[in-house]
Subunit: 367 residues, 2 copies
């Protein structure tokens, strides 16, 4: 292999694939990045066998070739290169980087040992605008369970039916739901659970200038393509719970309130409700035009009062503060409708005048 490229191109390639590099290192070659120069294109690829990322970078290829380089060291070296044209040569399982009158040689691994990223054959394919998909990820991913012995809750359900794309995430205590339109020329449908790590990676890599993202799949894998990036992920095996059954269709109390005021009040109250047991429960009282949070703990006392508009019954209900804060931070509208039905039924937040998102949160039973 012999190629010429800029430092910035190398950095963009490393940044794109580095998070897919295996950190467990059961197989030494998986701690590397596969670099291949073929037919006027330079490609970086990495996989931990669950998530794989491939990225094309601008380069001038003088001689084709393939090698696996140690990911961490290669990334550190690339970031410290001078801003000049870089020459890279590969020979005898070693890669040499030339700049000015200096050079660095790193030992590599045999590319034959590196697993191939699968190319999906004849995949059904959807297209969705980047900004919309990015926002859908942001508004749902935080509701995935972090550590769970039921893997379905570590992922987000992606459902495509006709021109609708839905993302649904739940950790069984709360559920975030987002829907938008998708281009679906073949009118195919899809139902798969995507690991939260995969979506987090897509969120990180999606640039605002990437106009759209193309989604393809087979029974066990899903592929996302955008810009110069090809990302393939396994799907999580299992049945996602029937979320439609959980979402209440009616409510006894409908509260219209400011996201900012509510968020700030809950954040302050949560500072005082962190008790030694780690619980962080806040009690909300809604009485006609007032929403109140009153509590006394060993640290002190808080009494928050917000002006709201209410339809229906007065209510007292308690929530885990974190579950309210998480959602209030990602909702983009100024106002929400908060729907409650007594102290034992889930609360549902909906952005005002935006039927494409909802967040459901279970209350905490208090004595």
């Amino acid at each position: 292999m012999k190629i010429f490229c800029s430092k910035d191109s190398l950095i963009s390639g490393v940044n794109a694939v580095q998070r897919a590099v295996s950190v467990k290192n059961t197989l030494p070659v998986l701690s590397g990045i596969l670099i291949s120069a073929e037919k006027q294109s330079l490609r970086f690829a990495a996989t931990d066998l669950e998530l794989g990322i491939r990225c094309e970078i601008p380069a001038q290829i003088e001689e084709e070739g393939t090698i696996v380089v140690p990911a961490k060291l290669f990334a550190e070296v690339v970031r410290k290169l001078p801003d000049t044209m870089i020459t890279i040569k590969e020979e005898n399982l070693a890669i040499t980087i030339y700049y000015y009158q200096s050079e660095i040689t790193l030992r590599g691994y045999d590319p034959e040992e590196y697993p191939l990223l699968p190319d999906l054959i004849d995949p059904m394919s959807y297209t969705i605008p980047t900004l919309i998909f990015k926002n859908m990820i942001r508004q749902t991913i935080f509701s995935c369970a972090v550590e769970e012995n039921r893997p379905v809750f570590n992922g987000t359900l992606m459902q495509i039916e006709g021109s609708n794309l839905r993302l649904v995430a739940t950790d069984t205590h709360r559920l975030a739901y987002s829907i938008s339109e998708v281009e679906n020329p073949k009118n195919a449908s899809f139902n798969g659970i995507i690991p939260a790590k995969t979506l987090a990676e897509i969120y990180r890599l999606l640039k605002d200038e990437d106009e759209s993202i193309q989604i393809s799949f087979n029974k066990t894998q899903v592929v996302f393509q955008f810009g110069l990036i090809y990302l393939v992920s396994r799907l999580i095996d299992g049945m996602f719970p029937n979320y439609k059954q959980v979402i209440p269709q009616t409510c006894e109390t409908k509260i219209n309130l400011s996201v900012k005021n509510f968020l700030e009040a809950v954040e302050r109250a949560s500072l005082l409700s962190h008790d030694k047991s780690g619980a962080n429960i806040i009690r909300i009282k809604v009485e006609s035009t007032q929403l109140k949070i009153d509590q006394t703990t060993e640290l002190g006392k808080i009494s928050e009062q917000i002006e709201v508009t209410t339809q229906g019954n007065d209510v007292m209900i308690a929530f885990n503060a974190k579950f309210l804060i998480d959602a209030l931070k990602v909702i983009d509208t100024d106002q929400i409708i908060f729907e409650l039905s007594g102290p034992y039924s889930p609360g549902v937040m909906r952005p005002l005048d935006n039927p494409n998102y909802l967040y459901l949160v279970l209350p905490v039973r208090i004595s």
Copy 2:
């Protein structure tokens, strides 16, 4: 106590003093911030008995009073307050913060139990421009020892003689020296070792708009005053080594080289010289117009070559890469003079055309 002030004023007060709050908490009251409203001025103060900081903040005092509030919780609450005029009342060892229609009450501690920050009586006092002093701290503090059983190396020597102020820091492997002019109307002199933590705190708190900093002292303490801040620190007991004896007056090789090129080459070489033992030694070879770093480790091989101007002998010498990088990062000139005298004598870096700074580094003996 009853006062009115803005959220921003409260935040500036908390930010100024919070780092002086004791983290060890042997005495519970020391985990707090002393708030006192007296004679139209609101003061925040905190001390861990080694370092004490007092800060005046803009406020309207309606009723005088004093209380100690729990530092961490008070800081968190203040940061989450809305941007509006805040009212604070103190009563029965509790403080209540009012905003809009809401309020938070925190339990406090008895201010009688809080140690007083000493006011230096009739102190000798010096004045130095902020930007100069800030830069002197930045260019020396990194050479202090971090963990040492000889406390003198955990501080920086401050020496004032006539119109000269010197800062000198060493961990016995390297030494940083900086000198500048000071206003010294009474022609007094001072020689004290200031804890690195104190100087780091001053560096953090000094704002560019604070024009000058006033330094006063007695035998055991030093006081720095700038803006609305009064900072008092104990001095470290003990004899600082005679640094003048250590600095070589002559050299066998004088190298004129670019700080940027040298820094980048050393940084790259250090990536490859991190071996499993944690040592990070790089070998430098100077031959007339070339400075070369050539090394081969288990990770790979590097060969760096920089154009330099040399007077004197060729030389081969090895250094701990970190000790070179630390200094090259704080030197502000484009070029330095690097003075060497064979492989066993210290190297001395001086910024080109700036006699006010020098950095001495001991070589590593290599087999």
